[in-house]
Amino acid sequence: MRRRTLGITAVSAAALGAAAACGSDDDSPSDDSTQSFSGELVIWADETRTPVLKEFVKNFEDSVGVKVTVEEHVESLREDFLTAAEQGQGPDIIVGAHDWSGQYAADGVIAPITLSADQQAALNEASVKAFTVDGNLYGVPYALENLGLIRNTDLAPEAPATFEELISAGEAAGTQEVLTMEVGVDGNAYSAYPLFASMGGYLFKDDGTGTLDPNDVGVDSEGGIAAFEKFAELGEAGVLKTTIDSSNTIPFFVDGKTAFMISGPWALTDVQGAGLNYEVTAIPGFEGEGPASPFLGVQGFYVSATAKNAVFAQEFVTNYVLTEDLQVSLAEAGGRLPALTTAAEVFSEGNEDVQGFAAAGENAVPMPNIPAMNAVWEPFGRAQADAVDGVSTGEEAATTAAQSIRDAVS
């Protein structure tokens, strides 16, 4: 899970700096040059979105008559914004992932956003849930991404309907690996989640409206234990390996060492670069079990709680961002499915990759944005790695992980 790792690196870097930077709120010379302009809307985005946004804010500039500046923040965007906003500085709008919303909202650095019922209905339902914290919407979604099954059609012509079929097709292909799916020595809860969900496991109980109960942990529920036993079984069979990690998942697929890869839209650049014949389909569930629903990651726009141009910022995210044109353009730049349903239809027409990932994401659940999710990644991952390595049985792994998560949440 590439994005989270980057996040951690950013946190590490920022943390080292922040320990030194905090406390100096009063006398640190401010380098925030945006203060001197009045009525200039400032947006922070990462390196892939910045160029596209720059192009598309012009319409907004013309219609509202405010200068819009898009500033690029590479890698450390999430932390940069926190550091700036807690001192009452920073941008009016930030473009980021939905799983930041729990942290941002609890830190009081983003403002809630009210969308009318019509506006919400026009958006992908899960994407709205993804940005909801404590019953309030905190971000306006624009793009969705999730894992899918990428298949080398020369090695395995047929899309597998069940995970068992996938294994036999992978073995029949005669390649070095049956499948590449990121596990790594620490395990990987993000890529493990589809299989976990297929066996009936859940992380936190959903009360039906998308609000998760951090005190109801389902890692060692019946389905959860069954899933970890599956991990142990697949580990023993050599389908899942802790030696497959972020550094070789994509290269092995590109080199034809496997017919199947479970990965996201970010992998396609390399796959296309290698000139492979491939197809993206849904990750198949186990036979007789539920669908393998991946985590849904949503990108969206947040309004800073300390925005100096709140009027323009709110106008931008509630009205301008929800236009079809903008969403399609952003999708074209990022290769992700737009959150606005009409834009998604326009964009995915004739684009098989997008349709494939959209099909894979049909049952996707938003990656939990509650702060308790932070307590899940590590124990879950380790338990998965232990089960795959055969160090502990599936049941042991699941119960230990669940216990660690409960200890950390309470």
Binding site: G39, G108, A313, A375, D389
Partner: protein, 515 residues
């Protein structure tokens, strides 16, 4: 006499004088540049501090006495700015609850909690917003209904139908009789006045402004200064401020989403001491931490010295080529090298297992993982030892070695009794600093093993150092607790400082023996 003093203390050459003026001018320019934001932010203490620093610098360099100070001032100022200040700030932070959920001040926390109580009335009307100001300066919301295009004027008395308004093509009101209609820029600047204006539409509902739109909604939460509490009328919840912990909590202990930053005294230190997750494995981690640092120094020094002696032999040929190759690991960025090493130790596809035909799960066992990090860290560190050993060897007095030879000392004895002790006098401080560096070698562990091996449920991994362990304890996956992390940093600082002090003392004794 006077003449002589001016020659030794002042800048006598024209060039010297120009350099001095130039440097002082730069200082003055920097001071002005830094002062402007301080003035803008009203940070008067910061400004006073800055002025004091500049005054000291000018005083010291613009007069002829205090020659020692002229040498000491730049170093001292940099030491304060980059060493002492961060330590003080870290200690300061360690007494607070600063971290996720407690980043902002109390007012901002109240605002955030209250703002989260605004809900749109289901099926309520939405409007395009304009703001009109009457001649008396009273504000009125000029609203256009999105559904049917009707126009309304909203005041504290409520909504009244508005006649005779001019609208643009989107329907927004641009002019209305008796009102001066604001343009967008003015609306943006004076938003706070607009949000203060409560326009009721029902018993509890009112017009809420959002951007250039407005909607009918209800604000369920309010802050009451008298009880220092926030009440949510929709759910009946009341959160009371707890200034000790910086959170709003209900009577039954449920906390509101946003907290604020407060001083929590020695709680973080108590947490470090009493946390079973920290106290339990501390000794094990500490022992391995010493082993890792000592092992890294020992191996790098042994290999570095060995190769240096080999290259220092008089008859050795091609030394330049060898030297270039040996410095390579040092010349490459260690970040990238560590990641490459991590890959080389992959059980199934790694170079190490392939090359030696092994099937070791390097990350799986405690000792194999420890061996792995020591091997990689030795590879990264020995060129440094090689360089300093080579330099020190070349500087050894040849007469002592010759005397030893004449006295009949063989190679080994001469090395043990003469060369090594002489070398150590020069190199011990460097070995100690290398020890201190490796004691806190976060990158080597984090990038190579990440603390592995872990078992599910383990808080501490087999190769965790205090620093990597503390880092994970404090920051978990992505939520940060800077106060707690700072407390741990202070502990590590104390440990490293103690070890270094003891070692330097030991060295001084040793120097007394050999010199």
């Amino acid at each position: 006499m006077l003449d002589q003093r001016s020659r030794t203390a002042g800048s006598t050459t024209a060039a010297g004088l120009i350099v001095k003026i130039g440097v002082l001018a730069v200082v003055a320019a920097l001071a002005v540049w830094a002062a402007l934001p301080l003035i803008a932010a009203g940070a008067w203490w910061g400004l006073a501090l800055e002025a004091a620093v500049v005054a000291v610098v000018f005083y010291v360099y613009l007069q002829r006495r205090a020659v020692q100070l002229k040498y000491l001032i730049p170093g001292t100022l940099l030491l304060i700015a980059f060493q002492i200040l961060p330590v003080i700030l870290t200690i300061g932070t360690s007494f607070s609850n600063y971290g996720d959920g407690h980043r902002v001040d109390k007012d901002q926390a109240i605002n955030a909690i209250v703002a989260a109580g605004v809900q749109q009335t289901p099926g309520g009307t939405t409007y395009l917003l304009a703001v009109g100001e009457s001649a008396a300066g009273e504000l009125t919301l000029l609203l256009t209904d999105n559904a049917d295009g009707s126009t309304w004027a909203g005041t504290e008395a409520g909504l009244t139908e508005l006649e005779g308004a001019t609208q643009d093509e989107s329907g927004r009101i641009t002019a209305a009789p008796d009102y001066t209609v604001w343009d967008f820029a003015e609306l943006n600047e004076r938003l706070s006045e607009v949000t203060e204006l409560a326009v009721p539409t029902g018993e509890e509902t009112g017009i809420k402004v959002q951007g250039l739109s407005a909607f009918e909604g209800v604000s369920t939460r309010s802050y009451d200064e008298a009880c220092d509490c926030i009440t949510d009328s929709a759910t009946g919840t009341t959160w009371y401020a707890d200034d000790e912990t910086g959170t709003f909590v209900t009577d039954d202990g449920r906390a509101a989403l946003v907290g604020w930053r407060v001083n929590i005294g020695a709680d973080n230190y108590l947490a470090v001491i009493t946390d079973p997750d920290i106290r339990g494995p501390f000794l094990g981690v500490f022992t391995w931490n010493i082993m890792f640092a000592a092992g890294s120094v020992l191996f790098t020094f042994a290999i570095g010295l060995g190769t240096a002696m080999a290259l220092n032999r008089p008859g050795m040929r091609g030394t330049k080529v060898y030297r270039a190759f040996m410095i390579l690991p040092y010349a490459m960025p260690s970040f990238a090298m560590l990641l490459v090493w991590a890959q080389m130790f992959n059980r199934d596809f790694g170079l190490v297992n392939d090359l030696f035909n092994l099937n070791v799960n390097w990350y799986g066992g405690t000792w194999s993982a420890r061996a792995m990090v020591l091997i990689a860290n030795t590879w990264l560190g020995w060129p440094y030892m090689f360089l300093i050993s080579l330099g020190a060897l070349q500087a050894l007095p040849s007469d002592s070695l010759e005397a030893a030879k004449i006295d009949g000392a063989t190679g080994v004895t001469a090395f043990r009794k003469i060369t090594l002790p002489l070398l150590l006098i020069a190199l011990t401080p460097l070995l100690i600093s290398s020890f201190a560096f490796n004691f806190n070698n976060f990158n080597a562990i984090e990038l190579l093993s990440g603390g592995n091996p872990f078992k599910a449920g383990d808080a501490v991994g087999g190769t965790d150092l205090l620093i990597t362990y503390a880092f994970r304890q404090a920051f978990g996956s992505s939520s940060a607790d800077y106060g707690f992390a700072s407390a741990i940093s202070v502990f590590i600082f104390l440990i490293v400082a103690t070890i270094s002090a003891v070692m330097f003392r030991f060295t001084r004794n040793q120097e007394d023996v050999y010199s």
